[in-house]
């Protein structure tokens, strides 16, 4: 999404081998893995701590938030505070919070009056569908574009694709969504304007699936377009980094055709930064999902956060933040482990 931030993720990507090297010092792979997993757990713990203190300490009175609009006596308020364990010392409250969270109890939604875990559970799979499909599409298209542009640097395709990518990169995703909505849903009526199913459920079986995909086209296109730009630019520049390498000269000297040099030798080496970036980028795809789901009324976690934000429904907001963070921490860990497995330089450094 934004350049500075992606610069940051790139910095991490480049530094991974370093850090792995430092922690290695004669230890085995097991030790390396356990260090990475425990550091992910520490990060998650700090997310929990942040969540606890921000929501429980800043908005001074959770009980008042819960019963907003109704008049209660001081005794009744005190009773509510007791049930929530608010009078307890802070460390004890934090401990209770940790135990409850581990058991999946995230509180009760202010707007729906059902457990937050149910609200999030219902919204989870639409988001996974949207983020998953657009990540797969943007990865495939972006990497292909980057390879083609980087291999013939300065050529016609490179210039056009770089111009398009730079424009997409500077574009707010929700704005692109609204423009597509006007053109394809309002003007031409090719695609539905929002939601996940037609009225009445959109049918069952095969018809239901087609209906679902039909609703998925526009929101998934938005996320795909916005993120393929970044993957393409990164793939292009990491391929260019490989262009002057000796091993490519060797491959050419052996008499390999240009396509073979590219496919067998250059691309596998240039692919590593892209793989890391795609995993690390999940945090930004989630940000994109929040606005895109809002524009297209896609009933996922993003729309749930938007509604919670405007209500304001703090327990749902808190739960969504926790889940998003956990997902990104997990993706980072997987990227880290994947890189260790894929790149011998990381393992042996």
């Amino acid at each position: 999404m934004s350049d500075a931030i992606s610069g940051g993720t790139l910095a991490v990507a480049h530094e991974l081998p370093d850090r792995a090297g430092a922690s290695r010092a004669g230890a085995g792979l097991i030790k390396l893995l356990s260090i990475k997993i425990s550091s992910a757990l520490v990060t998650l713990f700090f997310v929990l701590a942040f969540n606890f203190f921000l929501f429980r300490v800043l908005p001074a009175d959770p009980a008042r938030n819960l019963v907003r609009g109704s008049t209660l006596t001081a005794a009744q308020m005190a009773a509510i505070n007791r049930t929530f364990g608010i009078g307890l010392p802070l460390p004890e409250q934090f401990w209770n919070y940790l135990i409850q969270t581990i058991h999946g109890n995230l509180g009760i939604s202010f707007q729906y009056h059902i457990p937050v875990s149910q609200v999030i559970g219902a919204a989870l799979w639409p988001t996974i569908l949207l983020v998953g499909s657009s990540t797969v599409l943007s990865t495939i298209i972006g990497v292909q574009m980057g390879i083609r542009a980087g291999w013939n640097r300065g050529g016609g395709f490179d210039r056009i694709s770089t111009a398009i990518n730079n424009t997409l990169y500077a574009m707010p995703d929700f704005w692109l969504g609204m423009v597509l909505l006007i053109v394809f849903a309002s003007k031409w009526a090719l695609f539905p304007a929002g939601g996940m199913h037609s009225f009445g459920g959109g049918g069952t079986g095969w018809h239901g699936l087609v209906d679902l995909l039909w609703h998925l086209v526009l929101p998934a296109s938005v996320l795909t377009l916005v993120y393929l730009a970044e993957y393409s630019l990164v793939m292009r520049s990491s391929l260019i980094d490989e262009l002057g390498s000796d091993y490519l000269l060797t491959a050419r000297a052996k008499g390999l055709r240009d396509t073979m040099v590219r496919r067998r030798h250059a691309v596998p080496n240039a692919l590593l930064p892209s793989i890391t970036l795609i995993m690390l980028n999940l945090g930004f795809v989630i940000s994109g999902a929040i606005t895109t789901e809002t524009v297209f009324s896609w009933p996922g976690l993003g729309l749930a956060s938007y509604n919670a934000l405007n209500y304001p429904d703090y327990p749902v907001l808190e739960g969504a933040f926790l889940l998003f963070s956990a997902a990104v921490i997990a993706a980072n860990l997987i990227a880290d482990l994947l890189l260790t497995v894929l790149d011998p330089r990381v393992r042996q450094a």
């Binding site: 931030i5 990060t43 707010p172 929700f174 909505l181 309002s186 999940l282 934000l309």
Partner: protein, 308 residues
Amino acid sequence: MTAPTATTAGARRVGHSRGQALARFWVRYRKDRGGMTGLAVLLFMIVVALAAPLLASSRGLNPIFATYPANAGPGWHYPLGTDADGRSVLTELIWGSRISLLIGFAATLLSMVIGALIGIVAGHFGALNGWLGRQTDNLLMRITDWFLVVPFLPLAIVLARTLGPSLHVIIFVIGITSWPGTARIIRAQALAVEARPYLERARVLGAGHWHQMVKHVLPNVMPLLLANTILTVAGTILSETTLSFLGLGDPTRASWGEMLNAAFSSGVGTGNVFWLLAPGIAIIVVVMAFTLVGHALEAVLNPKLRER
């Protein structure tokens, strides 16, 4: 020759060479066509933002004084049409540039101060061979990693929601979430600077940590920091747009993001289409301009990149 004259001559020589370096820099920068285009666009936008009171009366922003028909297409008095309250979209666009650029620059400033401070301190103490130094570096980098890993928008939403919508809050929230990339880049550069002999010399002569960091490390990471600043502004403007679109901006001071939020809330595709298109295109143009200038600066400062 007496000592004072020698010093003045030296100072003059330093000043002279600095001027020369700047001239050399400009000669190289000028060759970058993208960078020059970006710079021209930015200067134009800044002039528009500064001259807003001369270009359009701020009375036109108040719905009470809006006398134009609502949701009208382009007309003589309102070249980009009007919004749902009957205000000229062009007037809103001109005044919105002030808020968008102000938030972009202010948030970037905050982010650069935090990023440079953490990067330099971590790099400086990390380069020392003590246990305490390494721990300081480790701790600062752990904090940086945490901010890098936690997803930006959910964190910003949670912060902005609990602190309440206002101009200051949005600047604070964007600034506090966008520094970790800078801190990492600056730390890496600071580590490289720390390894140079003149820092060893400064240490031997008894320079304190503060002196080393401010007089030796900071000037050396400055060019990189500048390029990074310009690139970060592009990011912070986009972040502001997103947060305002979600309703976390200051409704009394309409930015471009706030305009998009209003256009969205009044129903996409029902009103004047320029109400939606104009702020979006303005954002794209400004963000691209900052990106072009930032990349051009990077390319001039880092010759290894220039071949791309």
